[in-house]
Symmetry: C2
Subunit: 347 residues, 2 copies
């Protein structure tokens, strides 16, 4: 039971009008504003059909029609025209994006704020995570008496460090020696390469420092395994721009939900089954009670095969999908360069 050309045109008109005005759209308005060559009455008949087929909803008898979740889905999959950003828009975006970033952390917060601003919607974004994880370099330095600093450099270049107390009688020189040895043993290895036998080998060679080595090895493993995808929520208050959230209770429910890091993470890990780079999840497709009336446009971003992360823009189901998808695509294109630059300059 697929939709005829005419029904599709009408559905598209309704979805777009509704996205633009947030008001239920009536047959007469479609007849007037869209040049379909049809009278209001005809459109009315088609609308009745579309409602019966589940593509439209009626808030009440004497209001116009509103797209149902199915309607949005069909629109997004089949009717939505690709909106391409104008040169001017891209330029504005570039000037906003190209600023001095202190670190990757700040890229995420700044970029998600920018996205919020241009989409007028809350944005969730994960920190770029390093894809693979192998040890490039392990180094220990004494930074004061009895306190050593372990520095672990991972491939892709992220650097982590940890301070460790050293029991009294290990000298500076010994730490140096341990450092060099450990580095020779671990450089190039990933988490699964550092197995029981490897550890035994290390202990065997430097048994007298076993306690100290254990702490270091644990930390190295933690670095390799930890995939701390911290999530940042930008411009949450933007949800209040949308008339569907002018009800204070609904607004509160949403803001409470998204204020919670775990929930934000959940949102970002959604999928709609497809494998395209930008995913659209509409209403309860998310399977999250609190997101029943919202949609999410999700994009993956990448930088040089090293870093990757996710960006999600959250809005009412009535959100302007075309524009938001295009914004995300444009930003994604810029992001790669910025991330790589920041990543290689600082950490």
């Amino acid at each position: 039971m697929d939709l005829g050309k005419r029904k599709q045109m009408i559905l598209q008109a309704i979805v777009e009008d509704y996205i633009a005005t947030a008001e239920p759209v009536g047959s007469r308005n479609i007849a007037k504003n869209h040049d379909l060559g049809l009278s209001a009455a005809t459109i009315r008949n088609e609308m009745a059909d579309l409602e019966e087929m589940g593509y439209l909803d009626k808030p009440h008898t004497s209001a116009g029609r509103v797209p149902s979740q199915l309607g949005y889905r069909f629109y997004v999959d089949s009717l939505m025209h690709r909106y391409s950003a104008t040169v001017e828009e891209i330029e504005n975006l570039n000037t906003a994006l190209h600023q001095r970033y202190v670190n990757l952390n700040s890229v995420v917060s700044v970029v998600s704020d920018i996205i919020s601003k241009i989409t007028k919607c809350p944005t969730v974004m994960t920190l770029p995570a390093v894809n693979s994880a192998k040890v490039v370099n392990v180094k220990m330095l004494m930074i004061e008496k009895n306190l050593a600093l372990i520095v672990v450099v991972l491939d892709g270049g992220s650097v982590r460090n940890k301070k460790v107390k050293v029991s009294g009688n290990i000298t500076y020189r010994q730490v140096d020696a341990i450092s060099d040895f450990l580095n020779s043993q671990l450089a190039g290895l990933g988490a699964k390469d550092i197995d029981e036998s490897r550890i035994m080998l290390i202990y065997g060679a430097m048994g007298q420092y076993k306690d100290f080595l254990k702490v270091v090895l644990d930390f190295v493993l933690e670095c390799l395994q930890s995939n701390i995808t911290e999530v940042y929520v930008g411009g949450a208050s933007n949800i209040l721009n949308h008339p569907e959230f002018c009800d204070i209770d609904r607004a509160r429910d949403f803001l409470r939900f998204i204020d919670n890091r775990e929930n934000a993470t959940k949102v970002l890990s959604l999928t709609n089954g497809g494998d395209s780079d930008v995913k659209i999840i509409i209403g309860d497709e998310a399977g999250l009670e609190e997101m029943r009336d919202t949609s999410i446009v999700l994009a993956n971003y990448h930088a040089g095969g090293i870093l990757s992360g996710k960006i999600g823009v959250i809005g009412p189901t009535r959100m302007d999908y075309a524009r938001i998808v295009s914004s995300l695509e444009t930003i994604n294109a810029q992001l790669e360069g910025i991330l790589t630059a920041v990543f290689y300059n600082e950490e």
Copy 2:
């Protein structure tokens, strides 16, 4: 013109009732609920006086009275009883606080969320900043061909690093030598010790690496000077718990304001002239248009003389000052231990 005992009692009753109910309080209710031994009529007279003196406001003729900003100020300065947390409350707090923290960053986000939860108000909090800044250790290591990692350890123990491209022909050994030399020159110095003459001395000794040295020195200075007080906003949506923000426009204005990092920073850098550890800033004392109807309870936190930062709880001027002050004090007491522990284990 100071307030007589009776006026003070009545003012206190009004402030506390209003804080509890969020409704303008009338003379009759005070007579009934507080055992002042006075009739409603007498209280009415005193209230008229208090209004004339500026301690009370009247939303309109036929409503009860509401504390004015001056009224709150007097209450906070002179009438507020110290509320001390119960053993149970402290214990609950402790179980919430004592969890595994990945780093100082996560302490801030977790703690501010906890504070938001118990105060039912938005919380702003800065990352702990290192008080003094002297170089303890500078170290460079080659992490791949042409790429060196500079590690700077500051006193207090914060560690920062940066990757630097190295022009082709500097060897691993040479970097080691530069590293040792630079460390010997810089260890123990603060920003102002690294002056022109010191830099000349370094260039003089190792002139052939001047370009590389310049990058390293710039980074060291940046570490010493930078006081990046990143700010975290927790539980912003809590503002919606308060009836004064049930108006969607007011809620939006506030949330927009606090969503902006710069504004959050502004809030935390407020002062009320006093020097006590917990400051209360009421209404337009903040001098921020958007905070006209809100108050802020500000506290400094410290850890071992090394770290310090600020916590601010934001609520309507009608907020429960006594309870919030006490909560902040209790948390502050716990925070020191947690911060020191995290700080010395990881950074």
